[in-house]
Symmetry: C2
Subunit: 211 residues, 2 copies
DNA sequence: GGACCCGCATTGTTCAACAATCGTTGCCAC
DNA sequence: GTGGCAACGATTGTTGAACAATGCGGGTCC
């Protein structure tokens, strides 16, 4: 997915929460830890910075991105635009619908076992599959970037259960609406989903006393 | 706009057509020409690659991107999704509308003087201003990437007059529709614009016998 | 307490070298 | 002539060390 395996590796580590959002990433220290040269690491940083996963301030190094409330609001505005738009133009017969169903079922199974991390990744995979209905690599790429940033917000909040559990049934509702009632109804359902999800994150941010 | 000034510099050079689309960019040669180190240049390459401006194939270096017909189709699909969606939600009272009008007038003035390069940049600036109506940095960023790639398609075709002249009046029509008839009518007008523009590029590609 | 200055740590950039990989060229057998 | 095969050359990938440039914090002086 990423050019250098190093960038992909770092990306995975960040998304996995190995580095806290906002944490400063020292070139020398990280290069030593990953056993790569500083120059190679800097190349990877440039790639990640364009993804919005790390923030790069000239002469002050890079930190793991830490979305502010303004960022969250913007991410959801963009998500609404992309996901709802895609869904409105989507066909219920698109092969990607099977992938959506698969992720919903994976999430439902994970809920049974209280595995909230898996619930979260399945939820996000559901929306990735949703965007894949557009058959547009560029829309998928844009959405992928939004998801990565959003994941950092989830990490900052850490309460996976309250962030992800309520949305399994909502994802199921979107899927059912698409199959049974058509794209327009599904888009409306999705819009409700996104509004609710955004509200919940902002609420958690407020409780954390966060910018 | 870009982190390192070098990446921005390269970006400007590529967009200005200093390097032909598809041209291979040798690290050693370009580093010498720009009077920077190979390492620094490689960092800039990584940033540009994520923008879609250059293509990076491991062990085979980077080339200036050269959109295929499939790319053009995808770019327009994404543009339609983003631009039309933004316009539908836009208010005619948004300050960005003034910027749109300014660009339309700049394009109209350039048409008078036969300055097709300026017509082209004004047309693209019009659409950037249009997306700015969303007040969403992330949507603007995504759109900016699409524009940069599209510009490479324009460069490959080179016939600026036939690519840009017909669309000045269409941009004007979109603006007028937004102000006089509201967002929905403007979005419909914009959709016609995009369809026509896409058709014209694909036609030119076909005449060039291009992939 | 506030402004100024200096030193320290980190980033930015360069250079030279070597390993890894790709494409090509020339050779040989068939 | 054609098809594979091996060595070569060129380019990219990565490293390590060095030095310049910048930002930050501590200390001093008023």
């Amino acid at each position: 997915m990423s050019d250098t395996s190093l960038a992909g590796d770092l990306r995975r580590r960040i998304i996995a929460g190995e580095f806290a959002p906002g944490e400063r990433l020292s070139e020398a220290a990280l290069a030593a830890r990953l056993d790569v040269s500083r120059n190679t690491l800097r190349e990877a940083f440039r790639a990640l910075a364009q993804h919005g996963l790390v923030e790069h301030v000239p002469n002050r190094g890079v930190s793991v991105a830490s979305p502010t409330t303004a960022d969250v609001v913007d991410i959801y505005r963009a998500r609404r635009q992309i996901e709802c738009g895609v869904l409105r133009d989507a066909s219920p017969l698109h092969p990607g619908v099977a992938a959506m169903r698969q992720e919903v079922e994976r999430a439902e199974a994970a809920v049974e076992q209280g595995d909230w991390a898996t619930v979260g990744t399945a939820n996000m995979a559901f929306h990735r599959a949703l965007v894949s209905l557009s058959d547009s690599p560029r829309l998928e790429r844009a959405h992928e970037q939004l998801s990565a940033e959003l994941r950092l917000a989830f990490l900052a909040i850490a309460d996976f259960e309250s962030l992800h559990r309520p949305f399994v049934t909502r994802n199921r509702a979107v899927l059912d609406a698409l199959v049974d009632e058509g794209p327009e109804a599904a888009a409306a359902e999705l819009e409700r989903y996104l509004t609710e999800s955004e509200r919940r994150i902002l609420g958690a941010y407020a409780r954390l006393g966060r910018a």
